[in-house]
Amino acid sequence: MSFFDLKGTLKPLTALKQFGRKPHTLKDVPYVTREAADRYRGFHYNDLEQCIGCGNCATICQNQAIDMVPVEGIEGKKGDSGLRPRVDNGRCCWCGLCVDVCPTGSLSLTKDYLYVSEDPNSFLWMPGVDNPQGKERISFFSTEETSLNDFARIPMPELEGMERVKSFAEVVLGYNEEQARAEASRCISCGLCTEACPEHMHIPEYINAIARANDADAVRIIYDNNPLPEMCGKVCTRRCEDVCAIAHRGEPIAIRWLKRYATETVDNADLIKEIVNPEIKEPNGFKVGIVGAGPSGLTVAYYLALRGFDCTIYEAHAKAGGMTMYGIPKYRFPEESLDKQIEYIEKVGVKINFNTKVGKDISFREIYDTHDAVFVGVGFPKPWTLGVEGENLKGSIQAVNFLYEINNGKRVDLGDKVIVIGGGNVAIDAARVSRRLGADVTILYRRRVQDMPADWEEIEGAEEEGVHIVPQAIPVKFHGDEKGHVISVEYVMAEMVPDERGGRPKPVPIEGSNKTIEATAVLGAIGQQGDYSFLEEEFAEKIKIERGRFVVNEIQQTSDPKIFAGGDAANRTADAISAIADGYRAVKGIEAMLVKKDEGNVD
């Protein structure tokens, strides 16, 4: 085929016929700049308030035109790295991928495309800072539909509501491999979540390992600073998901379920040991005593044991796990799952003395004298009482005690009308367990449903199971029959009054709105407190306790340098992951204190 074409060569010359005509389309030039087309991709604009500094734009940029840099006036905080993108317009090719992958939608391209300067370095711009006028000129932006991010979470298979109440079978069924890989692939690996996690777990790394189909590596990364990951994978309060970059416009990555998936791929303690393959150092001769085998105590024991310490836990109950064993119902956290993790912790050399209540079976003094350091992780075992008339009637039980009995395999007869008072996770747990025992359950909570401190998934789950929630209801009196058994609860409705100091709105009772509800049992769940009666007088005086909690420094050390504390009895967040974080800090504190002191003597 020939490429010389006579017609093609001569045809353009016909344009010459326009020669000499008066041009009429050009009359505004050069006074009017032509407006760019819709969706034109010009210079960047970044909404600095909306931007969270995840760096996804810088990662995707194939020309490496985007840097993440600190900006004056923007402080890093949970869910915001404090960095903002800066664009080298000399390298940018305006493909717009950065806009398409921006999880928050803060980054966009404008209709502006003219910039002339002799100084090549002036092409380095910080969108939003250097061109605030760009806000009015946005033309290329991403929506939930156009974004390349996947905003919809892979749904978690669950038992159906009315099916669940028939037994204590685990409600959440867990992702299968395909679902886990798909969910993990939604993660953009920014790592903002690690700051919100009290324990700073290596979240993007283990999610990435799952996405790349390397579950063993994921398990190894998870065990690096969490000895009870399967527990966290099932019941963690997951503050990480609150700050997830994807959550700004979609559903957060199911970080908790992915951790659950990874840990559930390993189904026995021997296999955990084989996969995690932890390096256990030679014994260094130091002995550490730990009071309480809850999450904080187990964390201290596990990581100190790996570092060559001789660790002994003193646990009052017959099983380890603390509140995660006796407080969390088995449909959320099955016992065999906990047993597997405890067995693994024992395999690395941790000794647990069960049924040994400190203060009764062994004195705190003895533990203090025979160990080089003591960690106290005793939690909050004692429930707060409501302080209303009739609270001591038969059938009025504390929810934590009720959960303890049930988790211990005992039967508790509640009758068929159970009233639960409170709005935290304990209240919801107690309500859902009561449903499983066949009762009709009503929760009375003094604030609104959205104010409930319980996990929203738990609240939803309870509603699906047929739990009735009465918000803004304050119990005032329990009525009993002649045998002293509770028969009804009298409560008063409340209205929400905004707090002038900016706190949560306060419930104020409405006079004359009293109502009465029938009850065969009442479960109080308005919080717990510490019980430090095991401490001898000298320690009780020496260790500073404020508002029911141990006062600790940044390495969890109490006012007695040899005594460390953590968990609910030392922090205000009162969840398992905070307890694990306390434990991990104490590990580093105890190691620094003992090993450094020892090395000091040698010198």
Partner: protein
């Protein structure tokens, strides 16, 4: 529309035994064929089925399957139908018959595919270079071509960009997280 589509599918399948059709809504037809069938099926579609116009030739890089999928997109003005003709070729030795005697504009598309994917069209007469000047690297539209790495190697970094920070490192520094070495390969 449905009837016309069924009729075309029937005729194509009776002529080309290796044609596998895929069903699409609306006015689209889709056939996968062996690469040897390509010139004849295209001739047939153009001359017998009235698909007079070649809209485009494009390519999908199935890196994991070590194959290229070349897609010919044809249009019929009379039936207002679009037909996709796909064929898979070996990724390591990507060779296909030249078809620019059927549609002249195929010449340009083939030049583009040659430059961007490295597909050789037997009998193609065209200048060596198309859009890329003095290109020495692998064909850049192949999925294993690392654009980012290429950009980093080819263009110098403007001074004044040294203060760039890594988001993950910034957070690690702020929280005191200790990332173990074996986990680092899973960083972004």
């Amino acid at each position: 529309m449905k009837e016309i589509k069924t009729k075309i599918i029937e005729r194509i399948k009776s002529h080309f035994q290796d044609a596998v059709e895929r069903d699409y809504d609306y006015n689209r037809l889709d056939f996968s064929v062996k690469k040897e069938t390509i010139p004849s099926i295209l001739f047939y579609l153009k001359d017998e089925m009235n698909f007079k116009h070649l809209s485009h030739i494009t390519c999908v890089d199935w890196l994991e399957e070590k194959e290229f999928e070349v897609v010919f997109i044809l249009w019929s003005y009379t039936d207002r139908l679009q037909v996709y003709v796909r064929t898979r070729i070996d990724r390591d030795h990507p060779v296909l018959d030249n078809i620019d005697m059927i549609w002249r504009q195929a010449n340009t598309y083939e030049r583009e595919l040659k430059e961007m994917y490295g597909i050789n069209f037997t009998g193609l007469e065209a200048p060596e270079e198309f859009l890329l000047e003095d290109w020495e690297g692998p064909p850049p539209m192949r999925r294993d071509f690392d654009t980012r790495e290429y950009a980093a190697r080819t263009y110098y970094t403007r001074p004044g960009r040294e203060d760039a920070q890594d988001v993950r490192e910034t957070i690690i520094k702020r929280t005191g997280e200790e990332l173990p070495d074996f986990a680092k390969k899973y960083k972004r």
